[in-house]
Amino acid sequence: MAELIEAVLRGLGTGSVYALLALGFVIIYKATRVISFAQPAFMLAGVTMVTYLVLEVSFWVAVPVAALLTGLLALGVERLAVRPMVGRPAFVVAIITLGVDVAVRVVVNAFIGLDVRNVLDPWGLRTVGIGGIDMQQRHLAAFLTTAALVAALFAFFRFTRMGLAMRAAAYDQEAALAQGVSVGTVFALSWGLAGALAAVAGTFAAAGSSVDAALWLIALTALPVIILGGLDSLPGAVVGGLAIGVLQELTATYQNHAPWLGGNVSVITPYVVMLLVLLVRPYGLFGTREVERV
């Protein structure tokens, strides 16, 4: 039983990272109707900034500063590479974001250099034990931070004028424009928010581990997450992220009962889930069901 609970807790930790990444994807999708494949690059850029900043200031200062800087970087990329494409098919813009991803990662890789880099987080691989159940501190920290950020995002969308504008633009861009909402600002802010969230996600992905050029691959797991949760659903991103994280950890923990599946089947579980969801419920758990009239 303890093994099961510990696996679930680990899953919630890694799932929190997926949730933060998926939130970025969904925020951009809701605002612009485009899946931005540049999120992995922003995650890598953010966490690399943290590895440099922690050498000068404390971890607690480094992470918000890196998140802010990554948000500004994402905002700049949106302004330069994406805004001129407004009105073009979403497919074209998505392909541009793929290019942005590669370009940004090439630059970031030069900053990562040859050796692995470290975020020097305060948790390391230490655990906290409650009633015989051990949980790694970094997983607890990831979960609590995600919970706080999700609450803040909810409050932002629910109670602020800008949040209302973003919801209006997500619902109907032209109507929002007619009501005086600056859709351009909505686009920029959504990219900035997604960039900042990616930086925080990257930091937790590297906490207790290290940063190398291959870290960006973690961000790809956000794709199965948003398919599961629903492309345009913020709660879906959170629930999907946590669910995929828990599922992955449970598979890793119990895969020895099915050795014929191979030694590392947990790596592909998110994609198996994605395939099943696409077959059975293509709009995901919480996504908007598209109605097409023929």
């Binding site: 050796d115 692995v116 581990s209 290290s210 890793a252 191979g262 590392n264 947990s266």
Partner: protein, 430 residues
């Protein structure tokens, strides 16, 4: 062309003809008494020390930008540049200097890319001063053989003992793991061993060595295949925690090894780890896994580390100057000696063609490693089993050491590796 006149045109034709013959042409020419064909020119190397000497072009295909072994590959390549610079400054090889700077290509540790860049440089090089990686080199091995292109590998699979065109140095992964187990038997006496390894020649060769040694030492053995990437180790971690072996032989990249060792120890695993040489990177001492690495990890290595007191190590440190110490440099330097010996032998034989270099390499009975490997190493004439180098050193993580690892045991051959008959690539026996 009209303005040049017939004489000028004829001269241009002659020059271009000569260039084609020297650079890329397949036809054989004689430079003095030495026969040459591809990748050897009468013109000096770019930036030659002695402008009167010809040039031997060797290619380098390495993991230079984004692959998993770039932290080793870049210093390996820099050390090889320094090695050949020293050779050139000491008078070159016969009437030639050696260039390893013009045809350097990045394989991104991808076999397809490796083959692609090899095909690009093949018409211009005599041989390869470096072909990094086992799976990547496997992608070009048939081409190397059919064109008699001699290559110094930057990998340690036992398959190279069976390839005449590959002039490997040091003990292969298989022998290294056998020695690691012989060492462990003596020091910790483990009853059970698990090999956690990447797929392909690198991981499977080491795992096979561990399996063969475990069988002969009466230990129980299991193997777990894993993937490259710190986030992809959950399966391997769980396998270790479930089976609780006394010893884990790790054959992965450094970030993977840190994830496996750090997290299994954090979750209560009480055994020990020995990693093959590419599992180490000094930066891991700053990672969260550092306490676990310092307490539980040892590294097996085919030759001694950067700071060792040997003529070769000293020459290397002098040639490289004030770089941050890294054992990638040591490896790149050691791997170059066999190519130097083969080139010298080929010049001595008066045949610097590709076939001539291959014949020279096959006839070598020893290579002078300036004390970095024991005398007698580099006996390619003796065949795979008799010629195989079987020494391994053991290191442990140590913050005070130049490359983050301090020696625990000097180069030794354990009883298992000594008795083993290398009759085929080890990984076929996993």
């Amino acid at each position: 062309m009209n303005k040049m006149g017939p004489l000028g045109a004829a001269a241009l034709l002659l020059v271009s003809g000569a260039l084609a013959a020297c650079r890329g042409g397949e036809s054989e020419t004689s430079e003095g008494e030495i026969k040459t064909d591809v990748g050897v020119t009468a013109e000096p190397c770019p930036g030659a020390t002695d402008q009167s000497k010809g040039c031997i072009y060797l290619g380098i295909i390495s993991d230079l930008t984004e692959g998993p072994f770039r932290a080793l590959a870049v210093p390996i390549t820099d050390a090889q540049k320094a090695f050949w610079k020293r050779v050139n400054e000491d008078g070159g090889i016969g009437g030639y200097e050696v260039d390893v700077t013009k045809y350097v290509r990045d394989n991104k540790y991808n076999p397809q890319t490796h083959n692609q860049v090899y095909q690009e440089i093949k018409p211009n090089v005599l041989g390869l001063a470096q072909t990094l990686g086992s799976p990547t080199t496997a992608a070009i091995i048939n081409d190397l053989k059919s064109n008699s292109v001699v290559a110094a590998p930057a990998s340690w699979t036992s398959a190279w003992a069976f390839e005449d065109v590959i002039i490997e140095s040091g003990a292969n992964y298989c022998v290294e793991s056998m020695n690691a187990l012989d060492y462990a038997k003596e020091v910790y006496n483990p009853k059970s061993v698990m090999a956690v390894h990447l797929a392909g020649d690198y991981g499977e060769d080491a795992a096979a060595g561990a399996k063969l040694a475990a069988q002969s030492l009466g230990m129980t053995f299991s193997a777990v295949k894993t993937d490259s990437g710190a986030d992809k180790q959950a399966g391997a971690i769980q396998a270790i925690l479930t089976a609780k072996p006394d010893l884990v032989i790790v054959t992965t990249g450094p970030a993977d090894a840190a994830a496996i060792i750090g997290q299994t120890v954090a979750r209560g695993y009480a055994g020990r780890f020995i990693g093959t040489s590419p599992t180490w990177n000094p930066a891991l001492l700053q990672s969260a896994a550092a306490p676990a690495l310092l307490a539980r990890y040892e590294q097996s290595a085919p030759w001694n580390a950067w700071a060792t007191d040997s003529a070769g190590h000293k020459a290397m440190r002098e040639a490289l100057g004030s770089v941050t110490p890294n054992d990638g440099y040591t490896s790149g330097w050691v791997w170059s000696y066999s190519m130097k010996a083969a080139l010298s032998k080929a010049v001595e034989n008066g045949d610097l063609t590709r076939a001539g270099l291959l014949a020279a390499a096959k006839s070598l009975t020893s290579v002078d490693y300036e004390g970095m490997l024991p005398s007698g190493a580099g006996n390619y004439a003796a065949g795979p089993n008799e010629g195989a180098v079987r020494v391994t050193a053991i290191y442990k993580a140590d913050r005070a050491a130049a490359t983050g690892v301090g020696q625990v045991r000097d180069l030794f051959t354990g009883p298992t590796a000594k008795a083993y008959t290398l009759d085929g690539p080890c990984y076929e026996k996993l």
